[in-house]
Structures are given as C-alpha cells and as structure tokens.
C-alpha cells in the first residue's frame, strides 16, 4: 500500500483550537479534553496538536521535530543539519508508553541556530532558507519527515486517537498560550505518522477538516513559487498557500482570506466601488488560490490563530469567547467540554474568518514567535 505522498487520501475530521490572547500559558489538558470530546469524528488513524510558547528557554532557536523511520534516515538528516546549523540541543522527544500507540517512528527534536553564511548563500532571507531546508528534507531524505520547525512551537502528532497521542507526548507537561488539535478520519491510510495533522512550515500550523476539490489547481499554483508538495494532502497545500500569500507576497490576513474564500461575483457589487474593485482584482489575480470544496481550518502562528470555513460552509465550525480566551472547534460541545459560562458563542458564516491575535499583534505573520512566561490557566472549568 502506498504511503501518503504517493497517493491522495481524503479524510474527514475534528478540529479544535484555544488561544489565550493575553499570552498566558496553560497546559495541554484542555485541548486534549476538547478534541477527545469529538472522538466520533475521528477513527484512530491520526491525531495531533500544535503548541505555541512551549520552549521559552530556546525561544530564539528553531525547534525542529523530526520523525525518522530508521537510524539511517537520522544520520542522513543529521549530516545536513550539521552543515547548516549550530545545534544547541538534540534529543529524543520524551514520550509515555501508551498501549494503543504503536509503530512509532524515532521522534527527535533539535534546537537549531542557522549558520549565517548558509543563509547568505541562498540570498539572505532566513525564513526562506528555513522553508526551503525543511521542504528539501521532506522531499529528498527517504524516511525523514519534519513535523515542525518553528521557533518556540512544536507539532505533536501520530497515528492514533488524539487523546492517546496527547497522552503519548505527555502534553499535560507542556504549557502553551495557543493550542490547536486534530482528530483524523482518513478513508484509507497506511498509518503514517507524517500524514497526521497539524501540518507546519516555519511557525505556521494548519489543522483542517475537509476535502479541497481545488487541490491540484492550488498545488500547481504554489509549485510555481518554489513550494514542494510531497504529501499530496490538503493541509500541506493550504499552509503553502497562506505562507505564499502572507509571507512571500505580503497580503494582509483579510486580503488572504478574501482570496482563499473569495466572495461570489454577484456579491461584490454591494460593497462599494473601491472595496469591490480590490476584491474583484484579488479574485482575478489569485484565481488559482481559491480553496474550493468543503473545509474548516485553523491556521496558527506565534501571533495567534485564524479559523475559516469554505465560502458556502460545507463543514462545521463554531467559535466562542470567554474573557481573554478564544475557542474554535468543529462542534460547540468540544468547547463547552473545557469552558463553562462562555461570554459568546457563534457559528461563523462561510468565508468569514475568526481571528484571535495576541495582544499587541496586528497580523498573523510573525518573523519568529516570542516566548511567553506568564503562567496562567485558560479554562473555565
């Protein structure tokens, strides 16, 4: 059976995300409880989490989480890492034995500082250097897969139900100001850990419920801009699209949203001539970046999160607020499971983004996420 990347596998899913907008960190217990509440939406063939603010002591280093199939893959990768980075720490990611989690790869993490000369060699753009490095490892080295590589953040994912994955990775011991989670229901899968969500690049992460029917249009579009789609998954192409629009091209989040979930032509006329012209032009110029088909996604960075539905809302998405915390999830129950007495609960319309940014941040795009030290609890329960 072919591994993900050789074949395209549609899946249904559950997503959840919590951010403390004041940047106070809280343990992974809530997010695990939230996603566990939607167990029916996954089938045990993929679960994962993204956590922001977890490595304050290494906040200036790239935290690279890598899956290795075997020691050969690790040795090959280490060779490239050592050529390009100063390695501040290299260790196994601590895990707990969980009975139902099996066939785990070698799971390693590194805290890395790029060698300046290597960045100069490729034009001096550190983000671009990192993005290309990660895509090359994933594309070139058989048996190695970079699960995450941003600063002060990490992805923890694998094959299993999300609550078991959380237990396995000891997420109760991590503290983050922003967590996202994913439970997967793939229609068939070889059970590969790299294929689980979230998918990440730099400090972006995406969890996604849906199936992008515009996949190949989007893939062939981003591939014109030096992205390598190695997984054939929607999440991968979604994150590359946002990275292209927000980081490489420099659109605002609002503009990027109006590209991927473009308004219908007939609705544009009601928006006034200037707004209408800009949205029409965006749609004309970025036609190949429209995400079509059913989806609800949570895009996160060190600055915050954004949740979005496709423009005709073919997948569920609920948002809620309680004090400085913003919750988004596939189902309201998943929010209420961890936060009582919500200030506000709503179902965003198709194509209407729910944005939760850290105080003081004006956009999702972050050069590097900054560490957060204030201890806090983000739960109404």
């Amino acid at each position: 059976m072919l591994r993900e990347g050789k074949i395209r596998i549609p899946s249904g899913c559950a997503v959840s995300g919590i951010i403390n907008r004041k940047g106070q960190v809280f343990s992974g217990i809530d997010i695990v409880d939230s996603i566990a509440n939607m167990r029916e939406r996954s089938n045990g063939l993929g679960g994962g989490f993204a956590a922001y603010g977890i490595y304050p002591e290494y906040r200036d280093c790239y935290a690279m989480h890598i899956f290795y199939d075997d020691i050969k893959a690790k040795e090959d990768t280490d060779y490239y890492i050592n050529r390009n980075f100063e390695v501040n720490l290299s260790e196994r990611i601590p895990v707990r034995k969980v009975k139902v989690i099996e066939n785990q790869p070698i799971i390693w993490r590194y805290f890395l500082s790029p060698i300046p000369r290597r960045i100069e060699d490729v034009g001096g753009d550190e983000d671009e250097f990192m993005a290309q490095f990660v895509m090359q490892i994933n594309a070139m080295i058989e048996g190695a897969f970079v699960a995450s590589s941003g600063k002060n953040m990490g992805a923890f994912k694998g094959v299993g139900y999300p609550e078991d994955i959380g237990e396995f990775y000891r997420l109760d011991e991590y503290k983050a100001y922003l967590w996202t989670a994913h439970g997967r229901f793939p229609t068939n899968t070889p059970g590969w850990w790299g294929g689980a969500h979230p998918f990440t690049l730099l400090d972006w992460s995406v969890v996604h419920n849906g199936e992008i029917s515009s996949y190949d249009t989007n893939r062939r579009f981003v591939e014109m801009y030096d992205y390598k789609c190695t997984l054939q998954t929607d999440t991968e192409v979604i994150i590359y699209l946002f990275d292209l629009l927000l980081r490489k091209i420099g659109l605002s989040l609002e503009e990027a949203v109006s590209v991927v979930a473009a308004p219908f032509w007939e609705d544009l006329d009601d928006l006034g001539p200037l707004k209408s012209r800009q949205l029409r032009n965006l749609r004309i110029l970025y036609a190949s970046a429209l995400l079509n088909g059913p989806f609800s996604i949570i895009l996160a960075s060190g600055n915050g999160l954004m949740a979005l539905n496709d423009r005709i809302k073919l997948r569920p998405l609920v948002a809620a607020e309680k004090d400085e915390c913003l919750y988004v999830a596939s189902e309201e129950a998943a929010i209420r499971a961890v936060a009582k007495d919500l200030d506000r609960v709503w179902a965003p319309r198709g194509g209407e983004a729910v944005v939760g940014l850290l105080e003081g941040k004006s956009d999702l795009l972050s050069a590097s996420s900054s560490g957060r030290k204030i201890a806090g609890k983000c739960s109404g329960s």
């Binding site: 249009t217 659109l251 429209l290």
Partner: protein, 499 residues
C-alpha cells in the same frame, strides 16, 4: 477530350412515390444536383454535383429525399483505398492542389474521448447548481507578477476580457462566411456576455454596435485593420497561424470580394485577398514583440492583445516566447480546427492535437513560473461542454468554438466551404444564399447552444464539488485517462483510470 474518371461521391435517393415534383430541391440546391427536366416534367438528379449538405433533405416537404454514399467498390487494397485512388484521378485531371473546407476528418485519436472526469462521493459533497451558485465567469488578459507587484490589486488591472461563460466564437472572417453569419455570432456573443472573433477581414459597419464584444484579428494580410478599428474593438488578436493549415496563408478569390467585402477589407472590388504565409514583418520572436507593442501603443494599452498560433511540434517553447513577448492571451489552435479553405494534405497531416498542445504549454509555463501572467485559450475540435470542462481541467482559461457554432447555424459539415456555394447561407457571399441565415434565429440558436452547455458545465462542476470554474483550471487530478499509453498520460499530466 478524354473521359473524366471522376465518380460521384453521393447518390441522391428520390422516392418517386413521395415526390410531388414541387421543385423545392431544385430551388434550394446551389450546386445544381437537382434539375427540372422540362421534357420529362420531373425532377432529375445530377449526383456528381451533390455535396451531401442535406439542404434538400431537410426542405423536401414530403420527405422524399435521402443522400447516400455512392457505393462503388474498388478491388480490395489496404494501401490504395478508394479515396486515395479517386484523389489521384482528380489531381491527374486538374493539375491542382486538393482543396477542402472544415477541420481534419481523419481517424486520429480524439483525446477528449480518452479522458474521464471525477465526481464527489461521500468524502466531499457534490453541489447542486439549482440550489447553490456555481460560477463560470472568467477573465482573460495579462496578470502582473504577484511577487514583483504585490499591491497590483489596489490599482486598475491591465485590460481583461470578462466572459460569463469560458467560451468564445472563433475567428471566421467576413468573406469566408456571410454577413448574416457575422450578425448572428455578434448578437449572440453580446447577449451571452462573451466575445466573438471577426477573423481577418475587419468588421462590417452594420456590426459596429457589437464592437465592444468583438475581437478583431490582425493577420498577415492586415485586411480591414486601421487604428480606429483597433480602438473600436473589444480585443485584438494577432493571428500567426491556424490549426487547419499551419504555415499556410490564405486566399480569398476575387469573385468573392463583392462590394461589402471590399469595403470591409479595404481592398479593391473583385481583387484577390491574399494573406501571406508568414507576417512579413515577423520573422522572429522579437518582431512579434514589436507588433504586440505597436498594437498596445495604438490602443493606449486599453486593449487585450492575444496571439493565435497553430499547435505545432515545438509549441511549448513557442508559447513561452509569446508570453515573454508580451501577449496577454495565447491561443493554441489544434490540428482539428476548421477552415473555409485549406490544402487537403496540409489540413490532414500538419500540426498537433489541441489536447497535447494545451497540456505541454500549460506545464511549460508553470515550470517557468509565468502561467499566472498570461491567459491560455484553446481552439480546434471542441465539440461539447464535456470537452470544455476537460480542456479547463488540463489548463485552459477558455476555449474557442468555430465549427460547433456553425453547426448551430445549420452547417451540415459537407466540407465544401471553399466553393462559395454554401446552401446553408454560411460560407457564401451569394445574396440569395446569404439570406438563408436569419440573424435573429441564428442568434437564438447560438445562445441556446451556449446556455445549454453552461447548464451542463455547472452540473459537472457541482458534481466535482467545485463552485467556481477557476478551481478547475489546471486541476488535472479531476481527470483520468482510459486507453492511453504511459507516454500519453505523462504528456497530458494525468493518471490512468483506477490509479
């Protein structure tokens, strides 16, 4: 004089019990295949003149007529079939090049028919066009480089052709087709919110009100073109080549250059209109760039300038050069594209299938990172809405139809356009024949055809879970190949059915 070895192609079958000798067939047939014999007081057939255009069959009030192939077997020979033998007789008698009309009719593979579309089941809901909007609107024209001009969307974009359906009527000149054909195409395009192409030969003054939806062609003869015509038009197309006759010019005989044609083409009455094989000011790609920018200068950069080329072997590199020369639209005309007249050997043996040309060009422009900046239109052999959907999934922005539009107007594909005696009033300038196309009915039939395709396209898109046509463009995962070899699949950039 020696006896002609030519045999009739068709046999006129007249049911004598049904025939009422009304002579409708005699009046309808410009080829004089039906003759009133005064002595016999009955209609007789001149089979050798029949082109099998069905005009008489359709108009016979008693259904007394049918046309059959003239069945005359030659001794079996897998190499020298009857057609080859008859063509040899014809050339031995005439000493001339064999002429033909319409597109390549040989049994080359039709790749559209080897492509199958996807549909949603379970993991992805299909979308019902009766309940949800499904958008077909398409913009053709140059798009700025997104990385170099990230804020381009805040300004006026370069000129774009807005199409409500990604279909346009392909270039057919006034001269090769009748004024009533032009009237029908122009009115239908305007009603549909699409564009029609007036071909080389200008735009008749009666049609100036339709000029915003008209693409005028600048071809090697430059007929009918001046600065005011360029400014008046909705778009401009430089015609380098044509799928039916790549590398060949055109020749409208003087007898077809009657008064209207002469005025519209801006050439003397009765003179031959000769379009040279190449543009004599374009012997290389940099010359094309000069013409593109001359036309843009002449229209103050307010008009889209496209370049149409025939699909030939090195088409990917050629198209890349055209994009870099500044064309806003590249039109690829496949080897099945129609024509009013072409040398038979050229039509049947030169060029490439549009499907391959499209796949190769789309892929090359992507590899070079410039696909987003230029629009890709294909022509040549599009028969129905499924062909269009497949073309867009392979990478086209829009398609041109020529033959299909003429069939909608009544063309019966007899391939005798070059004779000027089109009984359906399409490919003729003979006033009594021209009147046979009623422009009001013609418009209605064309609008019906495109609207029916529009419904079908929406159904197919909705089935794939796509509600905007741009999400299908280049979406080759929506296609699977059947009956194709590995190399063909590779060139088309698609997987085999079952993969």
């Amino acid at each position: 004089m020696a006896i002609s070895l030519k045999l009739p192609e068709f046999l006129v079958v007249r049911d004598k019990e049904r025939c009422i000798e009304c002579q409708v067939c005699v009046n309808q047939c410009a080829n004089e295949a039906h003759i009133w014999d005064q002595d016999l007081e009955q209609v007789v057939s001149n089979d050798v003149a029949c082109v099998n255009c069905h005009r008489c069959v359709v108009y016979c009030p008693t259904r007394a007529l049918r046309i059959e192939e003239w069945k005359q077997d030659f001794k079996k020979n897998a190499n020298w079939d009857g057609i080859s033998i008859k063509q040899t007789y014809l050339q031995a008698e005439s000493g001339g090049t064999l002429l033909i009309g319409m597109g390549n009719d040989k049994a080359y593979p039709i790749y559209w028919d080897h492509l199958l579309l996807n549909a949603s089941q379970v993991t992805n809901p299909s979308i019902d066009p009766l309940r949800e909007p499904i958008e077909l609107r398409t913009y053709l024209g140059r798009k700025p480089d997104l990385l170099k001009n990230p804020s381009a969307f805040r300004e006026e974009l370069p000129p774009q052709l807005q199409l409500e359906v990604p279909v346009m009527f392909s270039a057919m000149s006034f001269g090769s087709v009748s004024l009533n054909t032009h009237r029908s195409l122009a009115a239908a395009a305007s009603e549909l919110g699409i564009y029609w192409n007036a071909g080389e030969g200008g735009l008749h003054e009666d049609l100036f009100s339709y000029s915003p939806k008209t693409i005028v062609q600048v071809a090697s003869g430059r007929f009918g073109i001046n600065a005011s015509m360029l400014k008046r038009a909705g778009g401009i197309e430089i015609k380098i080549g044509q799928g039916a006759k790549p590398g060949i010019g055109g020749h409208l005989p003087g007898e077809k250059v009657e008064e209207d044609v002469s005025r519209t083409r801006r050439i003397p009455y009765g003179s031959d209109a000769i379009s040279p094989a190449p543009h004599h000011d374009i012997y290389s790609i940099e010359d094309l760039r000069q013409l593109i920018y001359s036309l843009k200068e002449a229209t103050a950069y307010e008009r889209v300038v496209g370049v149409k080329v025939a699909a030939v072997h090195n088409i990917a590199a050629i198209a890349s050069g055209i994009a870099r020369a500044g064309a806003d639209i590249i039109v690829l005309d496949g080897f099945r594209g129609g024509t009013g007249a072409a040398p038979l050997r050229i039509r049947d043996n030169v060029g490439l299938p549009a499907e391959f040309a499209l796949a190769a060009v789309d892929q090359r422009l992507r590899e070079e990172g410039i696909r987003n900046e230029v629009s890709l239109v294909i022509a040549g052999g599009i028969r129905n809405s499924a062909d269009i959907i497949k073309a867009i999934a392979l990478g086209a922005d829009a398609i041109y139809i020529g033959t299909a539009a003429l069939i909608a107007l009544g063309c019966h594909m007899c391939q005798k356009c070059y004779t000027g005696k089109c009984n359906w009033g399409i490919a003729t300038q003979q006033p009594d024949l021209v009147r046979r196309v009623n422009p009001k009915i013609g418009r209605e039939r064309l609008v019906n055809l495109v609207r029916s395709w529009e419904h079908e396209m929406k159904e197919m898109l909705g089935g794939m879970g796509i509600n905007a046509i741009e999400s299908l463009r280049g979406n080759r995962l929506m296609l699977r190949g059947v009956g194709l070899n590995a190399k063909e699949l590779e060139i088309l950039g698609i997987k085999a059915a079952g993969e």
